[in-house]
């Protein structure tokens, strides 16, 4: 069957690829499905762009992509953050070539058209050449367009190429509270990006990464060689009376028991969002940093401080483009490149007003778990790669999501809960995927 969707001939029917409890292998392997995902998901919903602290001063910019489209997050002279297309209004060249920087204005490298940080045209060389033509120097086509929608939630900037999206806050729904908890962990109630970014190229489909985040049945299997080994080596090498080093505190919980991960639980919300953990997670047993506790108590009072620290979530997913770990102040951002290639960016945040040890721990976590050269991430990536190749096999067309099917507990309208070992997170993501792909969301 060939139908015309978005003026693009496609021979796929997204409805036929997802059932409530299983998903067809071609969602991971078919380049035509990937193309449609770009159009229907990545170019239609809210995508994480960056954090406001990356563009603190007027003239600062950060260049990235929304799906396949190059965009720039900027700070304008009016003090506001904008997200504009990275495309000169003249002949379409990228306006900035670096990933980040600071400029007085955006000047195209080709014919010198100049734009303000909000995209409005400042000047064209020999401008009178356009007199008496159809080109209107004061019309909208002379400016670099801003993307259709842009909003931020507590410093996290999302944008959409589609004007018809719900308000950001309502789209975030139940996972906005994970951002709240991450930000509330700062004595000054604000975060800033710090410690650089690590970019990890995955030779697999983007969905393997996002699905793995709340896959609680994999850590104790996939991470045996790093996490169990770290426990054994640390026990052998370190004196029994010595405090466990932070590195071991970070790696060891990846091989907690099935019951530990089961007890963490998984929450699922509208639009494919969700989080695992809640009261506890693999980040719950890190050593106290007394000075941090003092500063937090001073800032919030004992009761509120304890409330904030009681929330300990594992991964929170802002489907499809980002995931945070509030308890350790890290974020990973998903940038799909092709059906079998994805770049994952890892960011770390400083809790404003907290001692330096907090950022150092976030960085240590990122080095140990998220780096392309560490001992944990590559085993995940290898598992995704094996799926990417294994699913080319015609030995089976369907991928199962049956675990605990029909047992989700409805906590509130649009808020489901299940034990950690449930496939709830996958089913929830594909429910959203199906709606997006059919143009319903």
């Amino acid at each position: 069957m060939t139908t015309l969707i978005d003026n693009r001939p496609v021979s796929i029917d997204p409805l036929s690829l997802v059932e409530p409890d299983r998903v067809h292998r071609s969602v991971y392997t078919d380049a035509a499905v990937f193309d449609l995902e770009m159009d229907r998901i990545w170019h239609r919903t809210w995508i994480y762009v960056g954090h406001e602290s990356q563009v603190k001063e007027p003239g600062q910019y950060y260049a990235t992509v929304i799906g396949r489209q190059p965009v720039i997050m900027t700070r304008h002279t009016d003090g506001k953050v904008y997200v504009i297309h990275n495309r000169c209004a003249h002949k379409g060249a990228l306006l900035v070539g670096d990933r980040e920087g600071k400029v007085k204005e955006l000047r195209c490298c080709y014919h010198g058209w100049r734009f303000a940080m909000d995209g409005s045209l400042l000047g064209i060389p020999l401008e009178d050449g356009y007199d008496d033509t159809r080109f209107d120097r004061n019309g909208p086509e002379a400016n670099v367009p801003q993307v259709a929608r842009m909003d931020s939630y507590r410093g996290f900037v999302f944008a959409s190429l589609n004007p018809d999206v719900p308000e950001l806050k309502s789209w975030l729904g139940g996972v906005a509270s994970s951002i709240d908890n991450m930000v509330d962990r700062a004595p000054e109630g604000e975060l800033e990006v710090a410690g650089g970014v690590m970019r990890y190229e995955h030779d697999c489909n983007w969905k393997f990464f996002i699905e793995n985040l709340n896959d609680m049945m994999h850590p104790m299997v996939t991470h045996q060689s790093s996490s169990l080994t770290a426990r054994v080596v640390a026990k052998k090498e370190l004196p029994a009376d010595e405090a466990v080093p932070s590195a071991i505190e970070i790696i060891a919980p990846f091989t907690e028991s099935y019951s530990f991960f089961d007890d963490m639980g998984v929450h699922a919300f509208e639009y494919g969002h969700g989080f695992s953990g809640g009261k506890t997670s693999i980040h719950a047993k890190y050593s106290n940093i007394p000075e941090y506790n003092e500063r937090m108590e001073k800032a919030y009072g004992k009761k509120r401080f304890e409330e904030i620290m009681t929330v300990n979530r594992h991964n929170t997913i802002f489907y499809p483009s980002a995931t945070i770990k509030g308890a350790i102040q890290t974020m990973r951002v998903v940038r799909p490149v092709a059906v079998d290639k994805t770049i994952i960016e890892s960011w770390t945040f400083r809790l404003k007003g907290a001692p330096d040890e907090l950022l150092k721990r976030s960085i240590l976590y990122c080095n140990l778990i998220n780096s392309s050269a560490n001992l944990v991430g590559p085993d995940d990536q290898e598992a995704y790669r094996r799926q990417q190749v294994g699913l080319l096999s015609e030995g089976g067309d369907w991928v199962t999501m049956h675990r605990d099917f029909g047992k989700d507990e409805e906590i509130a309208p649009g808020h489901l809960f299940a034990r950690g070992s449930s496939d709830i997170s996958f089913r929830n993501q594909y429910r959203a995927w199906r709606r997006y792909m059919c143009g319903e969301a």
């Binding site: 060689s225 080093p245 140990l368 050269a373 001992l375 990536q381 290898e382």
Partner: protein, 162 residues
Amino acid sequence: MADALQLHHRVSQFLFHEARLLDERRWDEWNALFTTDGDYWAPATPEQPEPENHVSLIYENDLLRKVRIARFASPNAPSLQPFPRTVHLLSNVMVDAHDSASGEVIATSRFLMIEYRRDKQRFYAGAYRHELASETDGYRIRQKRVDLVNCDGAHESSAIWF
């Protein structure tokens, strides 16, 4: 001049030996080249001033290197099946500083690591900076710093020390 040549030769031989141990998977011998508080550091950004306030591709002390080595022997490390093979090529060795009293040396060099795994060959290139302590039986590494030319680029998985 003769002393300088001899020093350069001694340092170069040490660096070549270190690279060879990596290629020959003589991990314990390789780690024994470090002082007990020596570290291995591959920054994730050019001219990174220090390892604690910015992410790094690898920043490992003795304990973490031992974890990595023990993991190499694990039957449950999917990303090591098949196990990668490497060639570390080293050149442009310069002795940048030498303390004649203590024997301590700072040496810089350039390297190329070719890694082969499952039908794919990858290239890593960059600069090494070795801080060496002089002990009775030879040099020990206080710090090996590896600045990949594309340290801030997007990297695929890698398992072996550059």
